[in-house]
């Protein structure tokens, strides 16, 4: 459970970091784009976490 939370923290940080790259490069500053990027980072972070855990169970489950 704790490791799951940690994975999510990492993945959310990764996705938010990518969002900040977009801003650093000068894109995505309009109000709707900002909202979309932020929601996108949140959802992508959760999706990636779940994906990683599914793969981990699929691969590691056999051992």
């Amino acid at each position: 459970m704790i490791v799951f939370g940690y994975t999510w923290a990492l993945m959310h940080h990764l996705c938010s970091g990518i969002r900040h790259f977009v801003w650093d490069l000068g894109y995505g500053f309009k109000a709707n784009e900002r909202e979309a990027l932020t929601w996108g980072a949140l959802i992508a972070g959760i999706s990636l976490t779940v994906l990683v855990w599914i793969i981990a169970y699929a691969v590691g489950g056999g051992r």
């Binding site: 990518i18 790259f21 981990a56 691969v59 590691g60 051992r63």
Partner: protein, 130 residues
């Protein structure tokens, strides 16, 4: 701030000790390590998944392989450096007592270097088969 006790002019208070003329290097390194980790995250996750359920010998065998060890070493360097800069920013944001702030930044540096060295040592030890 602008209490009657202060003899300094408002402009003097705003200018303070002047610009430090630094910050860009930390900003740049934070992005540099972030890009590095964005690229490295996939192989690192693959390695971690490969380790699931293995015993010590099996894990040591995987971590001992040269490409995997190098990927992990790169990730350790990037992540601890990123951590050091990121934590320093948090300290600068929230700790306003100058001496406490200096102590915290120093402790943060020690901690990050210690974590980095311990991790690097562990990987090297496994890959050199000692």
């Amino acid at each position: 701030m602008s209490g009657p006790s202060s003899m300094r002019t408002p402009l003097e208070r705003v200018r303070g000790l002047g610009s430090a003329h630094t910050g860009t290097s930390d900003f740049w390194r934070q992005r540099l390590t972030a890009v590095a980790m964005t690229l490295l995250i996939v192989p690192v996750i693959v390695v971690v998944i490969m380790l699931i359920g293995r015993n010590h010998a099996g894990a040591a065998q995987i971590l001992g392989s040269i490409p995997i060890a190098i990927i992990l070493l790169l990730f350790i360097v990037a992540s601890t450096w990123h951590m050091k800069i990121g934590m320093q920013v948090v300290i600068e944001d929230y700790i306003h007592n100058e001496k406490l702030k200096i102590a915290s930044v120093m402790a943060n540096n020690f901690f990050c270097v210690a974590v980095a060295l311990a991790s690097i040592y562990a990987i090297l030890k496994l890959s050199s088969g000692v």
